[in-house]
């Protein structure tokens, strides 16, 4: 498992922030993107429920010639507490499997509805 920071912690302006393309080694079978959420530890990160972050990942099986959607999400900010554990949720996570292949490329985008302080990492397994 390898985790790569694609968006360091910072306040990003509203709009689309792309990342990749990234070559995906043959052994990688899944990918996960984590976007930092608001917690009591740092109330400045994505604090407003009305501010949304949309995430989309696309995978290419032909070395980046064509891409298909891999996963996408849309969430609002603010502190969320997990019912099951009573713990705050530190990140919005989307994890998905990857179709096996030898010439795979990954790219994605993060779209902010407003200026939001957050960070993003990509983890591959």
């Amino acid at each position: 498992m390898t985790t790569v920071s694609v968006l360091p912690t910072a306040t990003y302006p509203a709009g689309i922030h792309n990342f990749g393309p990234i070559a995906v080694p043959t052994a990688i079978v899944s990918i996960e993107i984590d976007i930092a959420r608001c917690t009591t530890a740092d109330l400045t990160i994505w604090p407003n429920a009305g501010d949304t972050i949309a995430m989309d990942m696309e995978l290419s099986m032909d070395g980046g010639v064509t891409y298909s959607s891999l996963a996408s999400s849309l969430d609002g900010g603010g502190i969320e507490v997990r019912t099951k554990t009573g713990l705050e949720v530190p990140a919005t996570i989307v994890q998905t499997g990857l179709t096996a292949g030898t010439n795979r490329m990954l790219k994605g985008s993060i779209t902010l509805s407003a200026a939001i302080k957050t960070s993003a990492t990509v983890t591959v397994t």
């Binding site: 298909s68 959607s69 891999l70 499997g97």
Partner: protein, 549 residues
């Protein structure tokens, strides 16, 4: 053929059907009967206190076994699973699913759905799937389909449990416990060309998803397979090919329906055959169900088009039934060609025969019912047209009944043709009722006189005649004596224009004509002897008065 969720899919509890506080949880579906050739998918989720999840589907359906599509768990104990199983032959049964968490005692709650899909390929080899986890409140799990017309299904488990999962796709949701919510979703319509298909998963707050999205391959896979580069062929239309023969390829793909029945595409279910090309069934296109065959080409049934159901045959071409078109049902025959029934076209039902061409019944057209005969041409009944009912005869031509046209009923004869009156009943037109004859023509005087007047009428008339005669005698002078009449009664002169109806008088007196006449002759002789001195006319008057009184 589109992939459709079949109505035989059993209803699944929305409150969850996998509930346990141990290390194992299981549930059983309602009994159902999937059709032959269908696919069954099992999608399930469970929230566990931890440990690896081991799923075990079993069924009482004959010949059905299940293959895992995907199994997804997350770090907090939530898991989802998907299985599929092919139904070669329809049967009725249930499906049970159990899940074990590896021995960690605690909550293990979830739910599962059983879906039956028709229109899917018999072989699902190569069908795509994808799975993952997420904490997003609104995300799309994605699968890249491999064939045109595939169906895409998804299962999601939110093991945080405070949400009510939903989807923008067709879905069913279940809340199986405090931390076990989930949903099964599928696309409302089949996918188009191969490519990315998303299944949407939503929850209200801080979900923790485990999700699976998978493809179901369609039955009509020929075009898509043909357009998909074979592993042995380089990309592009002109790519070189190095793979096995087409026959071998056909055997491997899921399009074997296309080559069924010698090149026919068809749909088969229990008791139903629906070939759809002309070469099916010895050249026929047809729709068949149990007990019903509907060939639609002229070659069917020795060249007939027709509709056949149990007990009913409806050939539609002229060569059916020895050249007849007709409708046949039990007890009824309706041939429609002139050569039917020895050359007749007719409508027949039990007890009724209606031939309608001239050759029927010795050349007659007629309608026959029990007790009723209605020939309609002059040659019927020795040349008569007429209507006959029980006890009633109505000939309509002059030659009927020895030349008389008449309306007859029991006890009644009413000749009506003027040209025959001279012949009938000595030239008199008359109306007859039982025991009564009423002549009505100009020749009424040819008969002796009315015999049917009531006595009171006769009496009144006689009285009126007597008074009128007396008045005329007073006002008019005496007439000359008719020598012939005088001769007939001796010396008494008789008015020449008078004619007396002895028959009526005799009837009034209650005597025979002969007796009455003899009595009158005696009375006249006696009166003549006594009144020789009286005036002739006065004597006659007395005689008449005596006679009429």
């Amino acid at each position: 053929m589109a992939i459709v969720r079949d109505a035989s899919s059993p209803t699944t509890s929305t409150s969850g059907n996998l509930t346990s506080n141990g290390t194992n949880s299981s549930g059983t579906s309602a009994s159902f009967t999937p059709p032959s050739g269908s696919w069954i998918t099992i999608t399930a989720f469970v929230d566990s206190t931890g440990g690896a999840l081991t799923w075990s589907p079993t069924t009482t359906l004959a010949g059905v076994s299940f293959t895992s599509i995907a199994n997804q768990v997350n770090a907090s104990g939530g898991g989802a699973v998907a299985y599929r199983g092919f139904v070669a032959n329809s049967s009725t049964g249930t499906i049970s699913l159990s899940v074990n968490n590896g021995g960690i005692n605690g909550q293990i709650d979830g739910a599962f759905w059983i879906d039956v899909w028709t229109g899917a390929a018999q072989s699902q080899t190569g069908a795509a799937s994808n799975s993952g986890t997420s904490t997003s409140a609104n995300f799309n799990g994605t699968v890249t389909t491999t064939l045109t017309g595939s169906q895409v299904v998804g299962i999601g488990c939110d093991d945080d449990g405070s949400n009510t999962p939903s989807s923008t796709d067709t879905f069913n949701e279940a809340n199986a416990g405090s931390h076990a919510d989930g949903l099964r979703a599928y696309k409302a319509s089949n996918s188009g060309a191969p490519g990315t298909v998303n299944v949407n998963f939503q929850a209200t707050t801080s979900p923790v998803w485990s999700w699976i999205v998978f493809e179901i391959l369609p039955a009509t896979a020929w075009a898509s397979i043909a357009s998909t580069p074979h592993p042995g062929r380089s990309p592009g239309i002109g790519g070189a090919r190095f793979y096995q023969s087409p026959k071998a390829l056909n055997a491997a793909v899921s399009s074997n329906v296309t080559v069924a029945l010698i090149g026919q595409s068809a749909t088969f279910t229990a008791g139903t055959l629906t070939p759809n090309t002309d070469t099916a069934l010895a050249g026929q296109s047809s729709t068949g169900t149990a007990g019903t065959l509907l060939p639609s080409l002229a070659k069917a049934l020795s060249g007939q088009t027709g509709t056949f159901t149990g007990g009913t045959v409806t050939p539609a071409s002229a060569v059916a039934l020895a050249g007849q078109t007709g409708t046949l049902s039990p007890g009824t025959l309706t041939p429609s060609l002139a050569t039917a029934l020895s050359g007749q076209s007719a409508t027949g039902s039990t007890g009724v025969l209606t031939p309608n061409i001239a050759l029927a019944l010795n050349g007659q057209t007629a309608t026959f019912t029990a007790g009723l005969l209605a020939p309609s041409t002059n040659a019927a009944l020795s040349g008569q047209s007429g209507t006959f009912t029980a006890g009633l005869l109505t000939p309509s031509t002059d030659t009927a009944l020895s030349g008389i046209s008449a309306l007859s009923s029991a006890g009644t004869v009413t000749p009506s043709a003027g040209g025959d009156v001279v012949i009938a009943l000595t030239g008199v037109t008359a109306t007859f009722t039982a025991g009564v004859l009423t002549p009505s023509g100009a020749d009424i005087t040819a008969l002796p006189g009315p015999l049917d007047w009531p006595p009171d009428r006769i009496a009144d008339t006689a009285f009126r005649r007597k008074k009128k005669r007396r008045q005329r005698e007073i006002e008019q002078p005496a007439q000359p004596v008719d020598p012939i009449r005088v001769g007939a009664i001796g010396a008494i002169p008789i008015p020449p224009a008078k004619t007396y109806d002895f028959r009526s008088l005799a009837e009034l007196s209650g005597k025979s004509v002969e007796a009455f006449r003899a009595e009158i002759d005696q009375e006249i002789a006696r009166l003549l002897a006594e009144q020789q001195e009286r005036d002739d006319e006065e004597a006659i008057t007395l005689i008449l008065a005596a006679l009429e009184d």
